[in-house]
Symmetry: C2
Subunit: 427 residues, 2 copies
């Protein structure tokens, strides 16, 4: 792990240290392009063939049957089901107030403008497989989709044979019944363009590997394809701790992020050298008792400790980095909220571990990574909806606007735009 003393570094040096490595998608884009073309021309046959090739696939049918779903429920303990239900309930409570409200304004007499919201009709949610079973991601995407009122929600997830029971249980709580046991770029191509057995969707949500990301990006710029939620990068945490913070708690939060995958990044900022020393000892101690040590060691290699002048001066670093997760192990954390300009989700105080937000506090864990918190929000009910503006103008309302429209149309040399107004007063 690296350690930097920002009090002795120039701003340029500090920024260089904080910069994420660019994800090179060139090769993934080529592969995804080929997969997409072949899925579009050969349909289900190609989807199955790629699943066999990449996922050692052992199914005859990608669609998860009702029987399979019911069978899965019997494999879960009552305690497990209850945990998924509790998490779902908290997520629902936090997300329901996000449902956007229509409004109208009479901007000029006789000119009524309105804004209304409609659900995106067909959405796909991608639940990654690989290193972990992720029922929590099914809840984080499925619950806002349900609140938004999307008429069709399709879940895909890469498997060898069986979709994990917990994922099926979570999907069921969200009312998702159309589930395909398939992942990768082939699943994205199937959803984005549609095949005979699976009609296309309008937007795809959820993180995935570089081939999934590449396939989502490609489809998002094609009018025949579909939109996607946000660019996906490795997960990350930034922890701000003052000298009175608890090194054991901070070390645990630092490590909980690092276990997500080998490319995860944890960054700890403190004004106290001795606190950083104490936390380093705690990390080494706790590391021994954890599983997934292989990931932990790899992600710790690109994780770092930063010494800063003061807690106040840390916010320029935080806002430049724009962390997905920001944990504030400081006294009276609320006094600093107005200083936070760029962050996906913020955890205030020593009893608010990031894992609470990952699972159960109610906030969404699908958040912008790689600095995209400078311009993106995490997934919300609005992510599953879109706004339409309406306007209704009376004849006298149009007369009120006429000179403004006609003069602007003249400036822009769009004579048919002007004509569309003047013709209405000729008859």
């Amino acid at each position: 792990m690296k350690r930097f003393d920002f009090t002795k570094m120039t701003e340029a040096e500090q920024k260089a240290v904080l910069e994420r490595s660019a994800i090179n998608l060139t090769k993934a884009l080529e592969t995804a392009k080929e997969i997409s073309m072949i899925v579009r021309s050969r349909g289900m046959e190609a989807v199955m063939a790629y699943a066999r090739k990449f996922d050692k696939y052992n199914r005859e049918d990608i669609r998860v049957s009702e029987n399979e779903i019911e069978e899965a429920f019997s494999l879960l303990t009552e305690k497990q089901k209850k945990a998924i239900r509790n998490a779902a309930e908290n997520i629902r409570r936090f997300h329901e107030p996000q449902f956007p409200k229509p409004y109208s304004v009479e901007t000029v007499e006789g000119v009524l403008c309105e804004r209304v919201f409609t659900p995106i009709e067909n959405v796909g949610v991608y639940i990654p497989g690989g290193t972990a079973t992720l029922p929590s991601t099914a809840l984080m995407l499925g619950i806002p989709a349900k609140i938004a009122g999307c008429s069709r929600v399709v879940l895909v997830t890469p498997v060898r044979e069986k979709v994990p029971p917990a994922v099926l249980y979570a999907a069921n709580l969200c009312g998702i019944t159309e589930i395909y046991a398939v992942g990768g770029a082939q699943a994205i191509a199937m959803l984005a363009y549609g095949i005979k057995e699976v009609p296309k969707v309008d937007k795809i949500f959820g993180p995935g590997n570089q081939y999934v990301t590449a396939a989502k990006m490609m489809a998002s710029t094609d009018p025949k394809g579909c939109a996607f939620d946000m660019p996906a990068g490795p997960s990350e945490i930034m922890i701000l701790a003052d000298k009175e913070a608890n090194p054991a708690f901070v070390a645990a939060d630092f490590l909980s992020q690092a276990e997500h995958g080998p490319d995860s990044q944890s960054v700890l900022i403190s004004e106290s050298e001795s606190f950083l020393d104490a936390t380093m000892l705690e990390i080494e101690k706790q590391l021994e008792s954890l599983d997934r040590k292989e990931y932990l060691r790899l992600s710790l290699e690109h994780s770092m400790f930063i010494r800063t002048e003061s807690i106040d001066s840390a916010f320029s670093t935080i806002n430049f980095y724009a962390p997905e997760h920001l944990v504030m192990h400081v006294k009276n954390p609320r006094q600093y909220i107005s200083k936070i300009k760029n962050a996906g989700s913020v955890f205030l105080g020593e009893f608010t571990p990031e894992s609470a937000g990952d699972y159960a506090s109610g906030s969404n864990h699908a958040l912008p990574t790689s600095g995209f918190a400078r311009s993106f929000s995490g997934v919300s009910v609005e992510s599953f909806m879109k706004a339409t503006t309406l306007q209704e103008i009376t004849k006298s309302g149009l007369a009120n606007l006429s000179e403004t429209i006609c003069t602007l149309a003249e400036i822009e040399q769009l004579s048919a735009h002007k004509r569309a107004v003047t013709i209405r007063f000729e008859q």
Copy 2:
């Protein structure tokens, strides 16, 4: 112009007719990639060189000076300035209520979750040049940015020498002072990555040609680059007219869309053959008196008339096409609002021409094209902001969540996530 009778066509045939041609960005992406690389390595020198190469550039300095701005104002008539001010005022009135409201929910006793909104700090607005001077686009992007509270708004626009006075006046009304007289992929690379003289921005708004679009797309997937508003395609209108509609008004709206550019598309749907005949005659008649005939003839080539069974049955066509603009020349248009699922902006009744929304009603004219209204909203105040979630948990609140978090962490095999909770109850 083409004419189709949907009452005699299968659904598949109808969909084929309505499909937009995919924009092939392969070549543009290559060019944009090269330009971006060279701008990043050589900075201003490269920006100037490309401007000279592509725009017959005749400036020494891309930055528009205060003197230049003041001088420009004197070139506008009082009537022109008033029109721009009136449009700005209506846009402000409609957009102000979009400012998002923070909220908080105690999801479980001791678990407080909140959502707050912050402006995107640095934004770029791209005002296309080429075939038209577009002060309206400066207002449509500048006013929401101002309401959102973005701390830095940078305007770029391609020119040979002088930025059109009306664009400078509109920018000034929005409080935009950092203006660069440069466009194309070189301007996007400059904004997305920053050069010595021009720091980078976090998100770029505004339509542009295929090189601009390609450059925006590329930067949007690079953690060192920046986000963009939405995929841009040719502008389009869909008009729904019943047999009592006024053919002259409908023809004028049809033509006002067609003049935007050679690739614009206008689509008229009616249940009445005789109404379509009458409108065709009107189009031919009005065409003669309009400027920009070269664009009009080209865009009319891929524009179309569609005969449908009834007004009610037209909505499946409308929702499949997902028009940027939908104009409703029908009796009591409000009765159909709940049937509209996918549309950027809707114009209700015969005195609501699209050009009112382009300029002055108050609604935004930066809207999703190419069917992206299935998943995208038009530009709004929220487009210039992002949400951050906050959570604050007490010790007893964490105890309330503990079993849920720990059970889910077990299911997902993330032992450090569980440890981050249990360690807080050990001391």
